[in-house]
Symmetry: C2
Subunit: 206 residues, 2 copies
């Protein structure tokens, strides 16, 4: 059907461990690249510009919106996040594979432009555990944590629109499951049929 | 959507290594069971009645057809193979998971009765390699091998109707890929959403 590279969209309520999961899974797929989103929020300790996010000013972000540069953008907890469309499309068209983490709103926005993507929703094992994880971060105030938990409840409603649901209970199991989903999707009929047909015509002739 | 267990249908041209693959994959999933088909062919060396196949006479097989006991049956290389429908349905309805290897014709027949199944087609890396594998078996005559290779070419046409295509080049890689497909399918939204909704209502209330 197409030689377009695989685009994997990952969503999760804040605090579930989406970022760590993605980082770990990337190690298994040398051809898989993490798409770096633009954001107006301040870097957290340890976050690097251009690697974790492209950190930009409110003014720059607004310019990018006005210039139609985003496939999707959203405001979350008072900060803006956006995905640059053209670079991503070009990259996929060359057969590259991309993992992209988005909130439910962003994922919904991007679906029409990237209909062949696969959508994976990561859940915490329970609300209690989510709260525990948010508190252990120690970077957010009580107010922040309360807001994140409330947003998480709303965010959870998006899960029913995703192709896969992974519960991040034991981290290594979740990594392995996410990895399996990518391996499986890479041998979906529509992604390999042309290659297989070519292989067997060649082998047959030889 | 349903608590019905997962049914995995595996097909491959004869000689690709489908049986060994299935046996290896079963080790990773304690809840996955290999569905034993009925056949009229003679056991190969090492094959056990009731474990590899239910070996039955032509007469018994015909009785079972007449009694409507098969979800599918087919004649391949002059022997008959069939899958007992009711036992399989009952087993799945109880939430059990089943792996079932069928030829392309059998898989097509069973699809209507088991629409939620997943279909995996295993391919050899090349025709040459397939021929080599058939010859190394040393149980088939030259005539048999020639016939199997010709059937394999016909059988290959079915690949385009399957959900996944796995190339059995390095055995361990193929095992791992097949395993990944099963792991991935087990966290498809439709298979886990109810469980997830229950989990979060409970956790929320507690």
């Amino acid at each position: 059907m197409s030689n377009e590279g695989l685009l994997v969209i990952i969503s999760a309520p804040s605090g579930v461990g989406k970022t760590s999961l993605c980082k770990e899974v990337l190690k298994f797929f040398p051809d898989l690249r993490h798409s770096v989103s633009y954001t107006t929020r301040a870097p957290r300790p340890g976050e690097k510009d251009g690697l974790d996010y492209q950190f930009v000013s409110e003014e720059k972000f607004q310019e990018m919106i006005d210039g139609g540069m985003f496939a999707e953008w959203a405001e979350i907890h008072g900060n803006r996040y956006g995905t640059a469309a053209n670079a991503l499309k070009e990259y996929l068209r060359s057969g590259n594979e991309v993992i992209l983490d988005l909130d439910g709103q962003g994922a919904r926005q991007i679906r029409e432009e990237f209909p062949n993507s696969i959508y994976v929703y990561i859940l915490p094992p329970s609300w209690k555990e989510l709260e525990k994880r948010l508190r252990s971060r120690r970077t957010d105030s009580n107010e922040d944590i309360k807001r994140r938990l409330e947003n998480a409840k709303e965010e959870l409603q998006y899960a029913e629109h995703y192709d896969y649901i992974v519960i991040n209970d034991a981290f290594n199991v979740a990594v392995s499951t996410l990895r399996s989903i990518i391996v499986a999707e890479k041998c979906r009929r529509k992604r390999v049929l042309k290659q297989v047909e070519a292989l067997f015509n060649l082998s047959h002739a030889g």
